[in-house]
Amino acid sequence: MSDEAIRIGVFICHCGTNIGGVLDIPELTEYTKTLPNVVYSAANLYTCSEVGLSEIRENIKEHNLNRVIVASCSPRTHEPLFRSTCQEAGLNPYLFEMVNIRDQDSWVHMKEPEKGTEKAKDLIRMGVYKAALLESLEKMQVSVIPSAIVIGGGIAGMNAALNLANQNFKVSLIEKDSELGGLLRYLNKVYPTNEDASNLLETRNLVENHKKIDVYKSAVIEKIEGYVGNFKVIILQNKKIIEIEAGAIIVATGAKALSPEGYYNYNGKNIISQLELEGLLKENSINTNNITMIQCVGCRNEERKYCSNICCMTALKNAILLKEQNPDANVTIIFRDLQTQGVAYEEYYRRAREMGILFINYLPEKPPIIKKDHIEVYNEFMNQGIGVPYDLLVLSMPLIANEDSEQLAKMLKVPLEENNFFLEAHVKLRPVDFATDGIFVCGSAHWPADISESISQSNAAASRASTIISKEMLEVEGSTAEINTDLCVGCEACIKICPYSAISRDEETDTVVVNKVVCKGCGVCGASCPQNAITIHHFTSDQITAEIVTYGGG
């Protein structure tokens, strides 16, 4: 291509009167002919109509055009269309350039047609100078391993594995414990239907017996390599090293309850944690009359600012169970705000109130005080403490991140948020994705989640993973970054700056390289490299500079 003479064709759109009614299109067409490398320039009534598109195709052939410019509306809406038109005529789509003379010219300068036309001339000239430097780029294809790895065998991980396996993908489920089930194993009943936790645990059998799922229990992750479509996870199981390959990874490592040790005179006997209460309820071994629960123990404070999402409902659930067992029992919940959003949960709260469970609000400035046989809770209305007797005091502890999440995050090269839960790519629109392609998160590893939320998220993570592993090949955009190894001094500044971890040091060649499959072409690394060693294809420094110079000098 490089030796071939540059032959630019420029198509200027009237867009009916949208552009033509303001800008002087004949003048623009004539002007364009005077620009370097332009061998063809013509106006169309509507370039994007079938007539206009076939004119592009025909003139590419007739005039041997090797660069095409359309001056019309916005590339944000029309570039894909014109690019594919070029491609149909055998021209590499990256040799197309678009100039916006409608949305950013004729429409916004309707009363200044001459000045608008001058602006359009500059814009077209800038486009012509950039076009001369455009390079044809190939969309690379990389193969994808059609299977997934799920890390963590709690309810979220098991469900994600099951969904993918039911879609006919092979799944490897890695669990560090000696059995599957996670936190669910310690629960008695689950809200909002108060079903036995053991019913939900049956998922274990489905998972272990599924022919598409390999379960690795008591397995420790040693190393994670690779990138989207081609990951390799090395695990240690029974002193054996096992290598597992997959196209996508789902993180479902859950969370754990904060230890109650040191809070409100915890003693493990008549002052216990909510999780311990679950155990006692399972054994059916509670026969006290005054049961009081305190919410938000160890969270929503300076050290742990967050609300752990699940504790209000858990307390309500156990309060209701206790009350059902023994309607005469006094059950009291001392709380800050009751988090029972939604339809079913609010309903549950109402039921609890109707059953006679007592709710007492406390302020963080005046926490309850534990006395020998009663608790003192400050009441603002009466401006004094009121006494609540108890035989059993239950502390609602928040879920906190696992200790090893930091280590796992490092291996996966994904970030954690300040409480050490995994940080998603975008809170709203990519809630189960990581910025790093091909890795997903669900359940309490992401944020304290209850069973239904965990399952919901695990389905979501499975769906996101399936969008990758269902493809035989991943197609990679051509406009990515590339490092010129001759100029690069290996300072690694770019490695840190890339928001997608697309850049790394290749251990074999000991050079810093961009993984095109991961790169999104934002160009931030290019603007940052101290050595100017990075080319941002399709937005190269030379191309941009050419536009600047011709605008300035023109």
Partner: protein, 431 residues
Amino acid sequence: MSKNLKRVMVIGGGIAGIQASLDLAERGIKVELIEKNACIGGRMAQLDKTFPTNDCSICILAPKLAECSRHPNITLHTLSEVKNLSGQPRNFNVKIFKKARYVKEDECINCGLCIEKCPMRVDDEFDMKLRKRRAIYIDYVQGVPSIMRIDRKNCLLFTKDACRICEKVCEREAIDFDQKDEELELNVGSIIVATGYDIFDPKTLGSLGYGRYPNVVTALEFERLICASGPLDGHLKRPSDKNDPKKLAFINCVGSRDIKNNPYCSSCCCMYTTKEAMIAYEHDNEIDTSIFYIDLRAAGKGFREYIQRGCDDYAIKYIKGKVAKILEDDQKNPLIVYEDITTSQVKQLKFDLVILATSMIPKKDAGNLAKILGIKINDFNFFKANSYQPQISSKEGIFLCGACREPMDIPSSVVDASGAAAKAAEIVMRG
């Protein structure tokens, strides 16, 4: 006809429907996306910014809209509704009713010439009737597909047999008054329902004065009032006198957690009133906001911290109080009468503008759609979901996501949507 159709129908093109469609399409499954309105985008397109990151709603939505309309695996059916369903999972037969657009989809280039000339002025539903639109229009400027439609209820040709001005000015000859409503039949293996929600009408709560007092508005109206591309170009004014409001009050749980109306919690209002207060403050640092609440529900990731920021950085006052009624003084300032929950005293406060966080309620036609599809609804008219696999409806092969099954925010809707896509894929891809 093959037994197992690798094709899924998604009903509703809000953020949930869009996300479900994109996931399936990327997964290699064909999608028929059915949208009642002329453009996809749903409620999210109406929002100014969105919690908890306060990023601009349309900025993050627009790329998804474009992707949806461009994706080779997605067929978009706008102005369409489901009329009938037969068959069984893996082989459903669906009848679709498609209203005439009276504008040729392939010809219209969204130039807007017709809008300029159309003589009709009609309340703009997208802008919560705070602005007028014409009888030929696009739901909202960034709407997708970006083409016009004619609203036959208001177009003079249909009402008075006169006009045809748009036809004359359209240089593309895109207007086609001869278009007819159509019926299509589609075959799909599975169905995802994502029809979203409506807003509770606070007029029925006479005590709050909505509809009588100009300076009492709903939260969704407020979203449009502060949006840079809304009817006021983002310069918040109070409706009665166009002055800059300085004292705002938000009332949470309007119609929600209320046995007489909607006993459930709408789950987003605590967060979005905080958001709206923050945005108002960013527009004008002199704005002083109070939020009246019963419980502050902020259990999502980073939500508690968000509320904290509202207190610390935006000077929002959270008042734990039950609002009894709203009165109005002679300057048209709303006066809120409320019971302070912590002290049980009745108090009164004056504001410039009051915003009601009205409940999210099921779509009016949810019951009807449920009947057509043969799925159950719950006590509140939301589609009934399985308690532990919340995307599963009462009927095999039909899945639910987003606010049509329970009020939920955008992050949850997106999770739900991907989840529903996975469940639908499970049905159509099962080996």
